[in-house]
């Protein structure tokens, strides 16, 4: 199932640049006043939630244009429930990201985007590790450590596409390279998974969102 989904996403991604570059005929006059707000929902997280019962989450995204610069923000929530050999790990939390994307398709009349940008991400979450251990001296016992007030932040370099599909409907994807994770927690248990970022056992990680968006015009563009 996951392989089929990946294959579909791959094909859509590979076809999108062709659509985008085919539309670079006309020009857009520079103007730094916003022309519209795009709001959308990520379809990867809900699909992941359906196909993998260890994960649950959703994410919304929005951006507003200032000529070729887009102020963008994402908010989301995720939970993980993992079972180890002698333990169970759970986390739950909310996160947001904010940053700027730069559109490199300056002359596209539909404002389709091939963009690169950056984000700062911030997450507030809880974690718990529960373990049942057989110790040769102290016997079998269960032990729980949790922390409900964890905070973490990170940086992202982003790239992707936004394509106008039909009237107000847009689709696109964002590839994220996440790094510089920092956390406020020195307590136990060790931070394992940060909502919005992912596993902490590597100093950098990747993320991917596929978005379905609606663009709400806020002023009429000059012809």
């Amino acid at each position: 199932m996951w392989f089929i989904l990946k294959s579909i996403v791959n094909h859509i991604i590979l076809l999108l640049p062709i659509v985008v570059f085919a539309q670079q005929a006309d020009t857009v006059k520079p103007g730094f006043f916003p022309t519209g707000i795009r709001v959308g929902v990520d379809v990867v997280a809900p699909l992941y939630s359906i196909t993998d019962n260890r994960f649950s989450g959703y994410e919304f995204s929005a951006d507003v244009d200032f000529y070729r610069y887009y102020l963008t923000a994402d908010i989301g929530q995720w939970e993980r429930n993992l079972k180890g050999t002698d333990s169970r790990y759970t986390n739950s939390g909310n996160y947001f990201r904010a940053g700027i994307d730069v559109n490199f398709l300056k002359k596209d009349p539909d404002r389709n985007m091939l963009f690169f940008g950056f984000r700062y991400g911030r997450s507030v979450f809880s974690e718990q590790v529960e373990r049942t251990v057989t110790d040769p001296v102290w016997g079998i016992q269960s032990d729980i450590q949790s922390d409900a007030g964890r905070r973490a932040g990170w940086l992202e370099i982003t790239g992707g596409l936004r394509v106008k599909m039909y009237r107000f409907i847009w689709m696109g994807y964002t590839v994220r390279y996440k790094f510089a994770l920092h956390s406020n927690s020195n307590d136990s248990p060790d931070v394992y998974d940060v909502p919005g970022y992912g596993g902490t056992f590597k100093t950098t990680t990747w993320g991917f969102n596929y978005l379905i968006m609606v663009r709400i015009p806020v002023r009429k563009e000059k012809p």
Binding site: K6, V9, N10, I13, L14, P17, L82, K83, G84, T85, D86, S87, Y89, V129, R131, V133, D135, P136, V137, W138, G139, Q141, D143, Q145, G159, V175, S188, P189, D190, Y192, G199, F201, K202, T205, W206, G207, F208
Partner: protein
């Protein structure tokens, strides 16, 4: 460009999970030293009790007779389910108490591994030995001595 994006998609699949290797341990090694010279001391001991545990360290069965530690450290285990452990040392002529405290940090390694409990910041919270020193405050699977007792 399409290959860059395709590669970016495939990269997350290459992210490996952390290894199941753990050096964490709850074994506490206690060395006995001569107060004047600091040389390894030979200790005659009946046994060491950890309060709350069913097991008794160095107890001879079926008859509880003294054991001799000829310069080797006593190896006991702290309670991995509590932040403190109290030990009672039964010597032929007297009993001595050593109470320790420590920090416990759980780590979920991954779904295919046993979890890890690291014990660190070892401290002596009470003892009636004359002189006790913590020389290594983290408990690991290496054979280092954690506490030295001078007699």
């Amino acid at each position: 460009m399409r290959w860059i994006f395709a590669a970016a998609l495939l990269l997350p699949a290459c992210l490996d999970k952390p290894d199941c290797i753990s050096q964490a341990d709850n074994t506490l090694r206690i060395a006995f030293k001569k107060a004047g010279s600091g040389a390894a001391d030979t200790v005659v001991i009946y046994h060491i009790e950890a309060i709350g545990a069913d097991s008794v360290f160095y107890k001879q069965v079926p008859v509880d007779r003294p054991d001799t530690l000829r310069g080797t450290p006593a190896v006991v285990a702290v309670n991995p389910f509590a932040d403190t452990t109290d030990f009672v040392f039964r010597f032929p002529t007297e009993n001595k108490v050593l109470k320790v405290r420590y920090q416990r940090s759980m780590r979920f390694i991954n779904e295919n591994c046993f979890s890890e409990l690291r014990i660190s910041n070892l401290q002596v919270r009470f003892t009636d030995f004359d002189s006790v020193r913590v020389v290594e405050s983290s408990l690991t699977q290496s054979n280092v001595v954690h506490i030295e007792i001078y007699r």
